[in-house]
Symmetry: C2
Subunit: 353 residues, 2 copies
DNA sequence: CTGAAAGCGCTTACAG
DNA sequence: CTGAAAGCGCTTACAG
């Protein structure tokens, strides 16, 4: 392979005897030239094997600003996501792109979220990333942005009644399936499994239950019930305790939400560690002890960091490079056991500083 | 966050009344200025919060060429690796970097490999990536490069007696551990497990066995034996058949190398599908049917594509950005089950075009 | 050891 | 609708 100088707009300019400005307009699809000229330029560019140099492009154009807003909860999930966002922003910092990150207090802060979205609409922001939690209620803020042609990327869960650019989220259905498939090997015959979620109204949690159900149907075991922890560690502890004391046939718990630490504590407190198998969700340092002492047999890692990275990269490509994107982008869950837990944790912690 | 113009070398130049060239020399560590000036420039740059713009840098400097050579075998592994390499080269194409990729016929082509390395040494190549398979025998070619200060990155396995820049490889030990930990749940009590490798002399395969052994020691099951398939599907079939016909207590097979398809076929032919659990290695389309019909219960994915990506990115950072790198870089294996197999396969296939 | 100039490949006002 | 010029932030010969 011999090094070949790349074709540049100068080459096209020379070839066609047309100014650089005209070529730029043709290639970037900007108005102000005749269709005839545009066609000629595009054809010649294609023929000559021209490919735009993104570096030169970024260097020359005005900076891009992304507005980002998400709830200040579930640190093991949202901090990791923010981390992914920050990481990819840094990676793109030379590309003349920057961001404005804001947070709203909790999952239920719809009004606060709309307020932030409105302020983005007035601040000359080029694109917005946000995390809706429930199935609706954000339209007021989002539609104002969309009407102004500001692309919106949703993360975590989708909204059906909003013309967002794309939605990036964990494949929750697959997470549920994977948990059920693994649980099958852990379970002693004739035992049933309880599923813990945060709240039945959360799309993400609904889908996990659905996936888990579907997969369980293939196997000779049953779901004991689906329980809402309301994201409260005490509730999680209490439900676990009640289930165990009921003396049912409980053999496993799939914790599809946070609070797995409470569940582990309870199982240990009641001396049921070897009897009840636990498959939990997400990876964070507090889980290490429960992994090491075999209270937890497996984890479903949702890779929130990757979701953050994809959000920034997708927007960048859309705005700076004019590239279309998939209507939905899924991040696939991974199954993590004791032996590889540490390697995941290391990677997460390493990327946090 | 208000948009702040970045500090550039022009700003420093103005501040110190020193030419751009001098500042460039100070910052890039090039010779030709006094220590005094260098120190002053570096301190001022730091104080002003200067960060180099890599885009502008790449645009201005001469192109970088990487020489890459690996054996033309194990397509499910090396093609994926090459794919990762090509992908990241494309991603970096605007950065004024290109590559020269060569292949040698097989695992044992030491002489051919050395010949390619020698030609790289004479071709003004800025860095070399190669895949040694055995523990030695490549020194002649590698040391010539290293003596000429051309950085060498090893992939797949390491060489102890060579001053390579870094070695990027799958964490084979962890792959073995993970396989053993999962196998534990699959295995019916009192059954043993056979381990299939390609060749006992391959570092990678040795380490897998070691990791598998270590983890098995924690559990109440035994290793039936370690068998070499010599990368021959017929040998793999034959060994499987012999083991099953011996009527031993065989309950599972960990296929740590290629040829898992032969193993599956044999197990099916002898009607032992439900009795013998299989954990195999790598992900490729031919495995789909054996995953779907539950002949294979799990896969250890070594992410060869990621290894390729990391090789290119590491070299780029080292040469273009003058960044040091870790002495060893490990890619961690992942456990894949039936429910998420398709999502991995899709990703691999999608990235192949 | 230091500086002034040209150039990398593109975009962006601005003039015609 | 089209063009000539300046500029993005750096590097690279070359002159002094």
């Amino acid at each position: 392979m011999i090094y070949l100088r790349r074709v540049t707009i100068k080459d096209i300019s020379r070839e066609l005897n047309v100014s650089l400005n005209t070529i730029n307009k043709a290639i970037t699809g900007k108005p102000g030239i005749s269709e005839e000229t545009r066609k000629l330029v595009l054809e010649t560019a294609d023929k000559m094997g021209y490919k735009v140099n993104k570096l030169a492009q970024s260097l020359a154009r005005n900076p891009i600003t992304i507005g980002i807003v998400f709830p200040n909860v579930w640190p093991e999930y949202y901090s990791s996501m923010e981390n992914g966002i920050t990481k990819s922003l840094n990676a793109l910092s030379d590309y003349n792109i920057n961001a404005e990150i804001r947070k709203v207090p909790n999952l239920f802060s719809k009004k606060e979220l709309i307020k932030v979205l409105n302020s983005f609409a007035n601040e000359n922001i080029d694109a917005v990333v946000t995390c809706p939690i429930f199935e609706g209620g954000y339209e007021e803020g989002l539609n104002k942005l969309i009407n102004r042609k500001i692309p919106v990327v949703l993360m975590g869960s989708d909204l059906l009644n909003v013309q967002r650019l794309t939605c990036i989220r964990a494949n929750a259905f697959l997470a549920g399936e994977l948990a059920a498939e693994y649980m099958r090997w852990l379970l002693v015959p004739q035992r049933s499994v309880a599923v813990f979620i945060g709240n039945k109204d959360l799309t993400d949690h609904k889908e996990k239950v659905e996936g888990f159900r579907r997969e369980v149907n293939r196997f000779p075991y049953k779901i004991n019930g689906v329980y809402e922890t309301q994201d409260d560690p005490e509730v999680a502890y209490h439900i676990t305790k009640k289930l165990i004391e009921e003396g049912s046939d409980l053999g496993g718990i799939y914790v599809a939400t946070g609070n797995s630490v409470s569940v582990c504590k309870c199982v240990q407190d009641l001396g049921k560690k070897t009897e009840i198998k636990i498959v939990a969700t997400d990876i964070f340092p507090e889980l290490k002890q429960y992994i090491d002492d075999n209270t937890i047999q497996g984890l479903i890692f949702q890779n929130p960091q990757m979701q953050g990275r994809l959000a920034v990269e997708t927007i960048y490509r859309y705005i700076a490079e004019n590239k279309s994107c998939e209507r939905e982008i899924f991040v696939n869950p991974q199954l993590v056991l004791r032996s590889n837990f540490q390697s995941y944790l290391d990677r997460i912690l390493a990327s946090e500083n």
